[in-house]
């Protein structure tokens, strides 16, 4: 298991239909909102263990955004590498997500695909 530091990049798919991309081409806070039933946290991929082409899964359905790990860490959230058999880069952002935090994560993310 890898340790995630401030310098790491975290990748998250952003759905196109229905769109989590707003008319001004910014990302909606809902794209970085975990499910209520998720005790685990918000799923992301650790950038250095994957490629954008793999992480996006399907270019017709998603765009791919990169979030610097320093952003969630600075908000008091925890980033933890939780590899899965089908996705060695799988990681989680854990903590008490407020709407404000989700918006800050979204506004700090940039599209890589």
């Amino acid at each position: 298991m890898e340790v995630i530091t401030n310098s790491d990049g975290l990748l998250r798919r952003i759905i196109i239909h229905p769109s989590h991309i707003k008319p001004d081409n910014t990302i909606s806070s809902f794209a970085f909102k975990p499910r209520k039933v998720d005790v685990d946290g918000l799923s992301v991929d650790l950038e250095r263990l994957t490629t954008p082409e793999v992480a996006i899964v399907d270019r017709t359905k998603f765009r791919l955004a990169r979030l610097q790990a320093s952003v969630p860490l600075s908000l008091g959230l925890i980033c933890i590498h939780t590899p899965k058999t089908d996705n060695p880069a799988h990681s989680l952002i854990r903590g008490n997500f407020t709407q404000s935090m989700c918006r800050q994560l979204a506004s700090s993310a940039i599209f890589v695909i």
Partner: protein, 155 residues
Amino acid sequence: MTALDSTVSDYRILEGTSTISPYFVLLDPTFYTRASTTLFETHEVSDEAIDTISRLKSYLKLEENWDSYGGLPPRKNAVDQAISFVISLDRKGYGIFFTAPGPSGEILIELKSGNKTVEVTFDNEKNVTSALFIGDRCIEEGNNLDERKILRWLI
């Protein structure tokens, strides 16, 4: 005497009807609210609001895992609440900036004016939360929906 001349053409008598569902708007772009037992005020819903309502209704067709992260499909009561809010704002002349389904089946309605933004969330348990932002800075966040206060702050 003319029963309905042009000055009252926005009013209609609907015989044998005691209540009108807001969903009527989906069949006819006219919204009725009861003004008396037999007289109904009508409000033309804007094309923009009709588009938004259609989009909200389309969220009901989403299947589980629609976002690839296990997203749950919205339920009808969340969509119903969001539609009522859209219609209410439309009656006051305010448009919607953005809508989206959420990972737990909730619905986001976002209003925007300059650098001020309001995010209103309707969940599947009929809870409503709202958050007010200037840029990305949160001014207020709570479990309520004071429409008048939101609009007053936004404008």
